[in-house]
Symmetry: C2
Subunit: 270 residues, 2 copies
């Protein structure tokens, strides 16, 4: 499907080594702060599961539990098919480096293009000002970009109301939203949506808590194949308790459809 | 913690048989339609994980993938500890009957009573009329109760605006909310919240789609130990696509705290 000219495809590619095992090479460009971006890792797992299930190419639901921080370099994804029948299949998948398990996941895959296209959405599409009136991620200070090479992978244009944290004036609404696309023009697809749900800065930035917010668990549902063009991504949190917060994410495509939903449970930055 | 006099505790009890294996007996009283209620099964898994992790008694996050329909009778839960360090542990758990896997799950457990009690919620507590002005589940027609013995386990009082489906006039808002407690007076705890997030009728009833809505995936976050008394449970769906819908659930305790959040992906009733 992809020509392989795009960075995301090259750097999430997996090589089968038999019996459900896939070799991957985690690329350093997806670092953010002390670790590798969780959405990128989810996409690497997503590619291995896709390779294991040729007739069911699309993630419908993926739940990932983050066990330890990944580092750039070789990794292995082990896919164990737990059920494969009818139009969907469910697998367990583990991302490992050396003898360390990084992420353990469950996933149900199917073929989104074969599903009925009856869509009824009562959710409201997030309002974003036009792209040219939003704040590009390229305006981030040099020192931020130095610790977050991840940002160079994307073209993100933030809602002006949701970037106060970048200048020490967080909006304190618990919401961050932005236009989102790959910097090199790669169009979105279901695997890329696994990345998109965890690509923005943690929503805690908007609550005046800068710093790393490690994900404990993230579940994503991919609801439709996204149309080409800009995505709208909206993160929100409503409940902080026990030193943890939930982060809900919605991804809308250029056709105005809610194409992915996710929720993660993360630790509050210290 | 529990005296064992309550039905829920007796019927979710597990007996260790070594090496992470736990025997359970699925009770027929939790049937609804053609299968056993998914929330009850989640609670059975939850008890086995709790037994395996004595110092981390509470589910923080649980993700369950439903593979086949369970039946009343013997079952086994196999718990595999994937990481146990610091204040949390992550496990994989499988519920099996004979050689069939019914549910495969991942879970992170901890000790909710040991966590900081700083709570900041911007979510709004759902409005429900007083208990005595809501519609008791005991008013359901005889033929409904005959196929849903599950209902006898609970005392549910539905928001009058959300029961039109019971008389052929669905509200078509995609919301069902109710007061919820156990019929025998057992007080809620974190394991019972795993049941509560999947105990109400499917929210599709309110959209004029009666019938079984099989869960593909359900992820629940337990955010705090619930206070004794009535729970408020609210289910909502906003996006139907590809023959599937998401069902978001919130559970609020009698102290007005958002104590559990869940989302499931389910198939639309045919």
């Amino acid at each position: 499907m992809h020509s392989g000219q795009h960075e995301f495809d090259r750097q999430t590619a997996v090589t089968p080594s038999g019996a459900g095992r896939y070799a991957a090479e985690l690329a350093p460009g997806w670092h953010v702060g002390g670790g590798i971006n969780g959405g990128y890792l989810l996409a690497v797992i997503g590619q291995a599961v896709r390779a294991e299930l040729p007739s069911k190419p699309d993630p419908l639901a993926v739940s990932a539990y983050y066990l330890s921080a990944s580092t750039a370099g070789p990794a292995e994804v082990v896919v164990d098919v737990r059920r494969d029948g009818g139009s969907i299949a469910t697998v367990a998948a583990d991302l490992r480096q050396g003898d360390q398990s990084r992420i353990t996941a469950l996933a149900t895959y199917g073929d989104l293009s074969a599903l009925p296209d009856d869509v009824r959405t009562t959710a409201e599409e997030p309002h974003l000002p036009p792209v040219e009136e939003c704040v590009p991620s390229s305006m981030a200070p040099e020192e931020v970009r130095a610790v977050a090479p991840l940002m160079e992978r994307f073209d993100m244009r933030f809602h002006p109301d949701h970037v106060g944290w970048a200048v020490g004036e967080p909006g304190r609404t618990g919401v961050i939203s932005a236009w989102f696309r790959f910097a090199d023009g790669r169009e979105p697809d279901p695997i890329a949506l696994l990345l998109a749900v965890d690509a923005l800065p943690p929503v805690t930035f908007d609550l005046g808590m800068p710093g790393w917010a490690p994900t404990l668990e993230l579940s994503a549902h991919v609801r439709a194949v996204p149309a080409p063009g800009w995505l709208k991504v909206r993160h929100a949190t409503r409940n902080m308790a026990g030193g943890m917060f939930e982060e809900d994410c919605e991804v809308w495509d250029s056709a105005g459809r809610l194409v992915a939903q996710s929720r993660q449970l993360a630790r509050q930055p210290r």
